[in-house]
Symmetry: C2
Subunit: 311 residues, 2 copies
């Protein structure tokens, strides 16, 4: 075997978990590395079968597995990572465009599990590094506070801002509440767009209102709601209603991560919006903003980082 061929055979390789094939292919193209073959399927008894079809010995392996519905997705990802290590890969990293279990990052009531720590520990024991997009960090400011392994959090904000600039006339970026402020601010700043952060008003257990300071003066603008995760869509729907009461144009709703609890997407679409748009961190009909480039940037940094040998 020539030296050139040997070098090529040892280059990085991308492996996708099921439902991640499309983004994995886009990522592999951006990185200029091949996608490896693998079989990951479920037996009738509910167990997962894993087989890696491309040689990985001595290679850096990039697993792609987004982690919405984490309780069913995590074990197959851990089993594929263990297989890759068992097959003597040089390293194995995880690209989780959506990274789960970041909300419960403290014990708010006695006896609660700090699942963010436990989940990170599990992932950290299975892979050498992790890359994600816009993780829901709140009390912790960086992933390093949670993950023991090298972890890169990229942001889709410039991509979202570019999409808005291309598709929305006279946009007004709106953050529906204080928690969404960081995402709305980042998107607006990336293109110098005007922005307003609204305030959630809790009138009762199930009655969420949005305070609307002085919205009338923005009537000539197209409202663009921005948040990181759209899950039940409660906050976004309440905001859409408030905007309609203030007689603004139907808003564009943008979420980085299309988590969408059952029925939530249809409800949001029916609430009087111009359009619902998400990034392709979780495959969904609303995906319109591609983050493959963003992920590739993070992966390149980590593949270049010096290898930590496992004990």
């Amino acid at each position: 075997m020539s030296a050139a061929r040997r070098t090529r055979a040892r280059g990085p390789i991308v492996l996708a978990l099921p439902e991640n094939a499309r983004l994995a292919s886009a990522l592999a193209r951006r990185l200029g590395v091949p996608r490896g073959g693998r079989v990951v399927r479920r037996f009738p008894d509910g167990e997962t079968y894993v087989r890696v079809r491309t040689p990985v010995r001595g290679r850096d392996v990039v697993l792609v597995c987004t982690l919405d519905r984490p309780d069913e997705r995590t074990l197959p990802a851990l089993l594929l990572a263990a297989t890759v290590r068992d097959l003597a890969a040089r390293s194995v990293g995880l690209v989780a465009p959506y990274l789960a279990y970041l909300r419960q990052d403290a014990r708010f009531a006695p006896g609660e599990g700090v699942t963010s720590t436990y989940f990170a520990r599990l992932v950290s024991s299975a892979v050498d590094w992790v890359v994600t997009v816009d993780p829901h960090l709140h009390r912790h400011h960086t992933l390093d506070a949670v993950y023991a392994i090298p972890a890169r959090a990229l942001t889709a904000a410039p991509r979202i801002a570019a999409w808005i600039a291309r598709h929305v006339e006279r946009p007004l970026v709106l953050g529906p509440d204080a928690e969404s402020a960081q995402w709305a601010e980042a998107v607006a700043s990336a293109r110098g767009l005007p922005r307003v952060i609204l305030e959630k008003v809790r009138r009762g257990d199930r009655d969420v209102g949005i305070s609307a300071p002085d919205l009338a003066r923005w009537r000539g603008r197209t409202p663009v709601l921005v948040d990181d995760i759209i899950s039940t869509a409660r906050t976004m729907i309440a905001t859409v209603r408030q905007l309609r009461r203030a007689r603004l144009a139907p808003p564009v709703c943008i979420g980085v991560h299309a988590v969408f609890a059952a029925g939530a997407y249809d409800e949001l679409c029916a609430a009087g919006v111009a359009r619902v748009v998400t990034c392709n961190t979780i495959a969904h009909a609303s995906n319109a903003i591609d983050v493959a480039d963003v992920l590739a940037t993070g992966v390149r940094q980590l593949l270049r980082a010096p290898r930590r040998r496992r004990g």
Copy 2:
């Protein structure tokens, strides 16, 4: 606090994962220890919330979580175990009446994951011991070959034999194939019942037949098919048909573990059986044989074993 009270407060406690409450209560009664309170629920975004409501500091905690549908059940169990450790329990053990991921215990084709090893490693890192009933051991003869922590495999065979003695007149125990032989033999031996081990004949990819050596001479008997796991029920249904062709009485079908892939239970019931009976290792309509006592025996042995301190 009196010495007696302090001792009581430090006694073992049983915690159940969702869908395991009934068996956990039966087990706690047999052990003479309380069941602890806990909240394990799923957020709309698919993450699991965990809270332990009974103090566990300094106590031995017995988690009960059967592991059919393992890909969705395992993460919540690991998170509850981590919470219990985080709350400074003295030890945490896992009672998994059905223990998953024991089939893929070798690499049969290049690149395959040896998921049985990886899964055991995951469980071994999360709990101090494991107790199960009739694990599907094949190439490995004991759980210790797979699990790094103390592991007890109990058998339901005497319970199954007792059930047959009480409910079936003139039983003939039948093992549908070589793999089921160990379960059928154990059940028959426990009460000195006659037994026949049949042989699976694979006529094609989807055509499974059962060779029936000299079945006619058993016509006065009630056939009792015994296997450890009923999943797709293919083998059992093929056997039932063979018995009917040999004009034996409709058989009783007994499985230790009611895994039942979608539709399998109804198909088996419709195949011309007298009754389908399982142990309560997995909650199912067919449960008729209680293994709480069997599990309690294993748990008592492990709670008595000297504590290994974690590093």
